[in-house]
Symmetry: D2
């Protein structure tokens, strides 16, 4: 059983929480705690040995010893549900489909929405519904309306932007607060915006990176979940960098999603607390 | 204030410990906990906001809520004391002397003992006593006796083997249980023993490593504290690998010592729990 | 056009080779050269701008300026052909199938042979022939004979052991010299043999690795192509390490295969020269 | 003997160069070559076996087979000479002083110039002249004039900015084209300017970096020589990040200087070609 708690910090929180658990004879296997002194926030993730404990009762009891601002989640859905948005690049989607098929994704893929049909066939091969919603010859408003409709039908916990190359409007983003997870093909905040590999090539950097983050209204500015880099050198063209970058894009997105699905990621303002 | 606790695991430990702290209005800034299910051991490191709490009273109260097997250390010496053993290679010692001189070592260097005089001058430049104890023309027993005598005079918390190239006898090791910290120039357990870089070169590996570990009687077999690797390729000779390896030897030993000095390392049987 | 040359070293090789190319007005875009002084071997990989040069004539001319021991390969097959051997674990195979399907594998997968049927369905989904050859209730000799027969029918350039968990006999290995590429789930030469993650867990290492290598008759002893590691700590069980290890196994095998397919890997005795 | 050549690209350069060497019976041990197709530039670094070859004659002969734009350097000074500029932070300077003292720096330190006296004592301990030139109560022009005067007296090959915290004027920079090497405490181009660790903390990044680069007139915009990163997380304050960053600053600067001193770094426009 996983218990995650976020609230305002104060003396005695750990004692209050662990006291409730001890009274119910629940054994804590692992506990991660962080206090953000600057923001005065308290974050905790507990793993306790599985029992037939009544979760609703436990949550009520925890709530009774904490302030009313505390957000407590007990035994979160063992299996999150996701919708994936794509354009043409296959690498992140394929990785997700493979993990989903073999039951190691930590979530289930409800459907894939693409603004091109390039990735329709791979979805079909895995029996995952693919919805083609072209952005051409229609306003962004209508395009997004169509996408939102499909998402709404599926009720996902998260929407994964797996190399989805359209910038989403504030209206769209507002519909899914902290539920949109994007992979950006640079080491943010370097190379915000389009063509980061071209920017990296022109700057002559010796490392390139990828960043998985929650999407907010500021372009490429949401809370960062995970980042990785690989080394590059003068022998790589911008195209070579793009190819090399795909490997870490895949790997960083996979890691970020695993962390989110395992309830290891807390968000507050524009930052994350991640208990790896 | 840092509090570290190691004991047999049981239900209610966190509640008992944090209850004591809460009663004294001590605020927990960061808490790391680990339960080794296989060994049924409980490990905890707490950082609480500095107060004028009576440490002896606090320790007594903690002891009263825990089993008698619990090892509790409160507010460990802010400044550990170390003796450093060296042979001829300078890189690890120099790094230690620099940090010691600028007050960022997290410990103080009491003296250096060398079985060659190569590093005498660098110690002198930093006003650190250097004791030359040659191993030549004497038995290992007498050599070690002389070294032990110097160490005993200085009463260090730890003895750091900073590229000390003599194998120590079981008798020597038994004198300093879990107080001897060594840097081994390979990614253990690969390339145990002498000339690991030559072994690595001949095997044609693509990575070489370094390992900092506590010394036990089994050669290169003690509990591992930290390890790092760097990539190598066909263009490096065994000598090049040795040179490249020095950089990570320095870095791994520095990291391991920092972790030990900050009371982040627990030892049980032949393994460590490290709260980085 | 790629040109790779391996021969005994002597003065003037670069001049002789580049002289031939210059005479034909071939522009060298990138050139990698290595001399192994210990073995007195010369290795070179050249990329020249594509032209309608007559390859056979060029090879003849190069041969005429080099000793008879020189192995010259010009414009190697743009698309190598491979047969993949698997058991039950999917991660390496799935990665290969995905790259193969999207045309970024650098080789084409002719068929997959498994000693269990676990991975039959995923192959079917990608229209790749899967041959089930159980090792049960038959001698190793007969099992290997059956596998060899399937391989022989397909005439691959390489046979990839993508988590194939049977130890191959010297007889089998001798049939495919330097054509068998294996992924071993440890940082060789640490943890040779079975259950490396269990061994790593018990030793309490802080890094675990994976190694891609050519297979020779000595178990886990062939020439190493690529290695990578990830950091681990006390909180991982042997099973967690195995899970975490799958990610680098996939990544290391993919990298090694790319290097081999791009003719960047030379083998001599038990080592490789890799021009990354 | 090391030979480095940079010139406009054309067919036959390798043949022309290696032909000259072969005629003189010079054996090439290692050769690195790169052609920048976009800029049409040719870069080569050759290591040939030591002989009593006449360097001046060899250079003349090489020049005769290349265009007049070719920059050829043969057997560059085995020991470069450097002046180091510092402010208050010790880590980079101390690393340089240690390597210099033990003869492994690949260059010799002529003197250190500081705008504070913090690092005077450490220089004295290593018998390295330290010049205190305060920037206080004088114009930038006069301050820089004083610094330039000291540098001019010492005639260094390179000036190393080892955490020198004053922004240099275009006039100063113009005096030392591609001779000023700086360590910037971020993963450029992220976090240009002051307080990069504070910027990184506020953005909530999961990696922080350091960049060694040649100094040009654009702040933090010169050609990058080397970059590295380390992982960070929510538990680090901006101050912790600064501390952690010092380790890679030291390491990246050391690496960049080694590459430059070994003539492995070519500069063209705002980029480097680095033959590691």
């Amino acid at each position: 059983m996983i218990i995650v708690i976020q609230c305002k910090d104060q003396v005695g929180l750990v004692a209050a929480i662990s006291g409730v658990l001890a009274k119910q004879q629940l054994n804590i296997i692992s506990m991660r705690e962080h206090v953000d002194k600057q923001e005065n926030r308290f974050y905790m993730r507990l793993q306790v040995e599985k029992t037939d404990a009544n979760e609703a009762a436990l949550e009520k009891e925890l709530q009774s010893v904490l302030n009313t601002d505390a957000v407590i989640t007990i035994n979160p859905l063992p299996q999150k549900k996701v919708v994936v948005l794509v354009t043409k690049e296959y690498h992140c989607l394929a990785d997700i489909l493979i993990r989903n098929y073999f039951g190691t994704f930590g979530a289930s893929v409800l459907c894939v929405i693409g603004n091109h049909d390039t990735l329709q066939d791979i979805c079909k091969r895995f029996d995952i519904p693919f919805f083609l919603i072209s952005h051409e010859q229609k306003s962004k408003e209508i395009f997004e309306h169509d996408v939102i409709e499909i998402i709404a039908q599926h009720q996902p916990d998260y929407v994964v932007l797996a190399k989805f190359m359209r910038i989403l409007s504030p209206n769209f983003v507002a519909r899914f607060p902290m539920k949109l997870i994007n992979i950006h093909h640079s080491f943010l905040p370097a190379f915000v915006g389009a063509n980061p590999y071209k920017q990296a090539f022109e700057r002559g950097v010796k490392l390139i990176g990828a960043t998985a983050h929650f999407v907010t209204n500021e372009l490429d500015e949401g809370p960062i979940i995970a980042q990785q880099i690989i080394t590059v050198n003068h022998s790589l063209t911008a195209l070579d960098m793009m190819k090399a970058g795909k490997e870490i894009e895949t790997s960083v997105l996979a890691k970020a999603l695993r962390l989110v699905f395992e309830d290891r990621v807390f968000v507050y303002k524009n930052k994350t607390v991640v208990f790896e």
